[in-house]
């Protein structure tokens, strides 16, 4: 077993620098690497590019990096729910690249799996396809999309072990597995570190080979964006 465990978030983020490109898992505030984001704020790395489906809210998630003006460019599919983001975007301080959600997921997966590019129908005939190669297959048009490149991927899992194996809970899985191994260094933080051998080999969502560093995260807030409930009758 190859040991990927590091002691804390500080060790996990060794090597992080300004001007780097980061992938961050999560959908909205669900399944985001809270510890890594806090540490990025502390490290105060500047001019970073973030690949993440969303940009957090004003005072949480990626919003913390935006408030601190650390982000040069966001690559996302949906960036609402964030006033500071809007201000920086409209003022031109922040560069934004909007990518269809499925394309975003597959660009990560392509990087993980060693595919340089792929053809997808998403965005054909729209602004998203501008400047990109398009091509017909079986009478339907597709856009050529390239794999992402990133320096670090920050992943949040439910449980993990020292071998780097990860499992996720519910919809907090989202982009996290697709970003594992898609960057030079993949850092996973887990709610619960379990002993090696505890995870069922049949039910490992991400095999440890895709993870370079793993640590026990702390103090998860796991905020809910839209608390929707019904009343018991």
């Amino acid at each position: 077993m190859i040991n990927k465990k590091v002691n804390n978030v500080e060790e996990a983020l060794v090597g992080v620098q300004s001007e780097m490109t980061f992938m961050l898992g999560g959908f909205g505030l669900c399944g985001i690497p809270e510890n890594a984001i806090s540490e990025l704020v502390k490290l105060n790395v500047r001019e970073i590019t973030c690949i993440s489906n969303n940009a957090g809210v004003d005072n949480f998630g990626l919003g913390l990096l935006l408030q601190n003006k650390q982000v040069k460019k966001m690559i996302s599919s949906y960036v609402g729910e964030n006033d500071e983001f809007e201000r920086q975007m409209l003022s031109g301080e922040l560069e934004v690249e909007l990518t269809p959600q499925g394309t975003l997921a597959e660009k990560c997966r392509a990087a993980q799996a060693g595919f340089p590019a792929f053809y997808t129908p998403a965005g054909y005939g729209t602004e998203v396809a501008e400047g990109k190669e398009t091509r017909e297959f079986d009478g339907k048009m597709y856009v050529l999309e390239a794999a992402y490149k990133a320096d670090f991927a920050f992943i949040k899992a439910w449980k993990g072990d020292a071998a780097g194996n990860l499992i996720f809970k519910g919809t907090s899985r989202n982009f996290n597995p697709n970003m594992c191994g898609a960057a030079t260094i993949t850092v996973a933080e887990v709610e619960e570190m379990v002993a090696v051998g505890v995870l069922d080999p049949d039910n490992v969502h991400v095999p440890g080979i895709f993870v370079q560093r793993i640590f026990q995260g702390e103090g998860y807030e796991k905020r809910i964006e839209q608390r929707t409930v019904r009343q018991k009758k």
């Binding site: 609402g80 959600q101 005939g125 919809t171």
Partner: protein
């Protein structure tokens, strides 16, 4: 009388057939789940990674790790599954989802749809909409027939940046049900008490009206 949002959702719910996997967009489409006949089997997919969505959780039972694409807390039904985003869009792009219901700012008689960007305004992004409309073969748009200024949203050509081309199959508005066929809008049904003329006046696109147009039954 023109339909309200719930009326639109009720009418669209009639399009959901037994055995359908359905992806519901944010807004009116989300309401559709409430009005699907309960004698048919349907499963709801949400592109953030869940199949087999159930109703909202009971107060106090909500789980931050279980949400839908609108970031709302949800529950799952027996037989549900969770998966990653790449697999979720494999379902969508691979045409395994039978029906996609989403909102729009504009639709055009060539089947084009615009629902993600207004130039000069803050752009929030397309989310999964571009993947959905580029892939699905059965796309129903839920929308108001006109905008708040009274201008038609049912157009000869979309004026806003497109989300997808030639993809819309049906439009359900507060006034009518329209089918997109051979690059034309065909009037299929009228909202209760709404006349063909009222619909035509609210429609910038050419509207094909053949024979008697029935009223919706809700």
């Amino acid at each position: 009388m023109a339909l309200d949002k719930i009326g639109i959702a009720k009418r669209i719910a009639q399009e959901v057939q037994d055995g359908f996997y359905v992806n519901l967009g944010i807004g009116i489409p989300t309401l559709v789940a409430n009005y699907v006949r309960d004698d048919i089997e349907v499963e709801f997919q949400s592109e953030n990674g869940v199949l087999g969505m159930g109703p909202f959780p009971f107060d106090g039972e909500e789980d931050a790790d279980i949400i839908n694409a609108g970031k709302q807390t949800i529950t799952t039904l027996p037989g549900a599954s969770f998966f990653d985003s790449a697999m979720s869009f494999a379902m969508i792009r691979g045409k395994h989802v039978d029906l996609t219901i989403l909102g729009a700012m504009e639709v055009a008689e060539n089947g084009d749809i615009a629902n993600w960007k207004i130039p000069g305004k803050m752009v929030k992004g397309m989310g999964g909409a571009m993947d959905l409309v580029a892939s699905a073969e059965n796309i129903i748009v839920a929308m108001m027939h006109t905008n708040k200024h009274g201008d038609s949203k049912i157009l000869k050509r979309c004026s806003l940046p497109l989300t997808g081309v030639g993809c819309v199959t049906k439009v359900v508005t507060n006034l009518a049900v329209l089918e997109v066929k051979d690059h034309q809008f065909h009037l299929i049904e009228r909202a209760p008490g709404v006349s063909v003329q009222e619909i035509q006046e609210a429609t910038e696109a050419t509207l094909i009206v053949k024979g008697e147009i029935p009223e919706m039954t809700l």
